[in-house]
């Protein structure tokens, strides 16, 4: 009896201890952030906080925040497509008095009501990387022109094939995601073929994931062993495809093109695993977004409309008539 009481008291004590240690952790975390407080706050909400693209975007935003003398608070969804997590982050940021919110929407439609509420409270809302649907649900958009990114590698692939009969595999993102659809359509346009053209022999979704990219390529090779052009949604998918091609001894015979321009991907272009990639600039999106909010806070005008943050074709085997930079340039400008 006595012993049991002591135990129960100890267990309540333990739980309290748990809370204290958690709060200590919090304090450490807060210290690591080093928020300055007082001044203008800018919120950044990325799709996830584990994808290197968004990690880089956050770095760009932090640097720009220092330069502009504002404080950056950041949050992210828990997984790719997590709308509820982003809604929660918007509410908390509006409550903490941010002047503006920069967001890469996980769900371009579902996020709109939450953004409308934030704008109604006078918060400047800017979409980064991909637009909301409708696009005017945000004040402004800083993003890559994904159709153009696809078009560049499409034109490159067409030129590199030099009139040979193309057998194309497209390793796409996922149904219903705008970024994936835009790059895919851009690629077809650049290659000069329409959706449903017989030269596209295999279409698979990869979720932009390396392992799934490999599986997709393996399946495509089962279906159509004579594939000679592979379009990939991003470099992880491209590297997965390369592994599958190499296993069949086809990596030197098949042209792989991609989009992103991350440092790992750009190195893969240099090593010849990927023939060409359309490089985009997430740091630009973030730093321009932060600057727009800082200007707005200083009593300036609200940013509006769409700003193209640019895209460059990176390859070491340039084709006539397709403007490109080499991998030395690409590695200098790459992210991640």
């Amino acid at each position: 009896m006595l012993r049991r009481n002591r135990t129960l008291r100890a267990s309540a004590g333990l739980t309290a201890l748990a809370a204290v240690s958690a709060l200590t952790l919090t304090a450490c975390g807060a210290g690591a952030q080093g928020g300055s407080g007082g001044g203008t706050k800018v919120g950044l909400i990325t799709k996830t906080d584990t994808n290197p693209f968004f990690v880089k975007m956050k770095e760009g935003a932090e640097r720009a925040a220092k330069e502009n003398g504002v404080e950056l608070v950041s949050a992210a969804g828990k997984f790719d497509g997590d709308n509820a997590g982003q809604v929660t982050a918007i509410e908390n940021m509006v409550n903490s008095g941010v002047k503006g919110i920069l967001i890469t929407p996980n769900d371009s439609k579902a996020i709109v009501p939450a953004l409308e509420k934030a704008r109604a409270k006078g918060v400047l809302v800017i979409a980064l990387d991909s637009p909301t649907q409708p696009q005017d649900a945000t004040d402004a958009l800083f993003a890559t022109d994904n159709v153009k990114a696809g078009e560049l590698i499409g034109r490159y692939a067409k030129a590199a094939m030099a009139g040979r009969q193309a057998k194309i595999a497209t390793l796409d993102l996922a149904p219903g995601v705008a970024v994936g659809a835009q790059r895919h359509q851009g690629f077809l346009k650049g290659f000069g073929i329409a959706e449903g053209d017989p030269s596209v022999v295999c279409m698979q979704d990869t979720g932009g994931d390396q392992a799934k990219g490999q599986t997709a390529m393996e399946n495509c090779l089962q279906k159509a062993p004579d594939v000679n052009v592979v379009y990939t949604i991003n470099e992880p998918a491209a590297l997965g495809a390369h592994t599958a091609l190499k296993a069949k001894g086809l990596d030197k015979k098949v042209l792989v093109v991609s989009v992103d321009g991350g440092c790992t991907g750009t190195k893969a272009v240099k090593e010849g695993k990927i023939a060409a990639t359309s490089q985009q600039y997430p740091l630009q999106m973030a730093s321009r977004g932060v600057k727009a909010v800082a200007d707005f806070a200083k009593g300036g005008t609200k940013a509006s409309g769409y700003t193209d943050t640019g895209v460059t074709l990176i390859t070491d085997a340039a084709q006539p008539g397709v403007e490109a930079e080499d991998t030395a340039y690409g590695l200098e400008k790459c992210w991640g």
Binding site: S11, T15, A18, T26, G29, A75, N92, D107
Partner: protein
Amino acid sequence: MTATTLPYDQLKGPSTVRRLLATPTTGPLVALLLACVFFSLTTDQFLSGGNFSLIVQQVMVVGTLAIGQTLIILTAGIDLSCGAVMAFGSIVIAKTAAEGGLPPLVAIALGLAVCAGFGLVNGLLVQLIPLPPFIVTLGMLNVAFALTHIYSAEQTVTDLPGPLTALGETFPLGNTDITYGSLVTIALFLLFAYALSGTAWGRHVYALGNSPEAARLNGIRTSRLTVGLYTLAGLVYGIAALLLISRTGVGDPQAGQTDNLDSITAVVLGGTSLFGGRGAVLGTFIGVLIVGVFRNGLQLMGVASIYQTLITGVLVILAVTVDQISRRKAR
């Protein structure tokens, strides 16, 4: 002292302190209060009616799921399918109302029925074959997830009729806006707290969780009780589906992917034992608030969200440790 006693009967004597210490909810409550004090001291915006209303609004979906999860965990089961079942229910409600032309209330009733149906199938498989709840609900997680994506064709359903999002509307209380959905969640917690602590059905649930065999020998219809509990949990997930729609204003096929683990987290943080028969639904409410308070407070402080995940992980392990120690000593 046998293992079949209820937590409140374990201590004789009138001492309120003893009774409090014996209640699994006390520790979590202390943790919640400490967290609130901490964030009140470190941020200007934390301590306000508006912010507390916001926290409740942010936890209402996972909180409602966690009510169903508590019912299952009290019987020493676990439900991995709750988030996926909710997502499917929300797509059924949104699509049939916005695109299928069903009257909103009929669409809602259909969604609730579909979710309860999932629960019924879970319960029948667990009880009649019988299969381990972990495996059954893992399978059902995949089934519901796939059906959600097939039926929605990966498209978010927008332009919903008003009644579907009515629970997302707010009403003023003093200078604070309260969301109707928050009240639904709080009412559900109170209802189940009463049902579990104040009715014969509730005592049967605890008895079943402590020892199914002893419960059966005492004349409790354990089969019927188990299947009923899973079905009821499914119905609660249906209510969560409606709250989810009202919160986001759309039907989102991507929703709820981590909510199964988040609901289990809330139940465990609230002092309910994964071994069954010990815990309380109000503890789960405290558990879900702990997660909500940390997320909100850290975001107000400007701390990266990954720290919230870290802290939640530490708290869960500690909570289970506390449960194990107090159990071992109580034998």
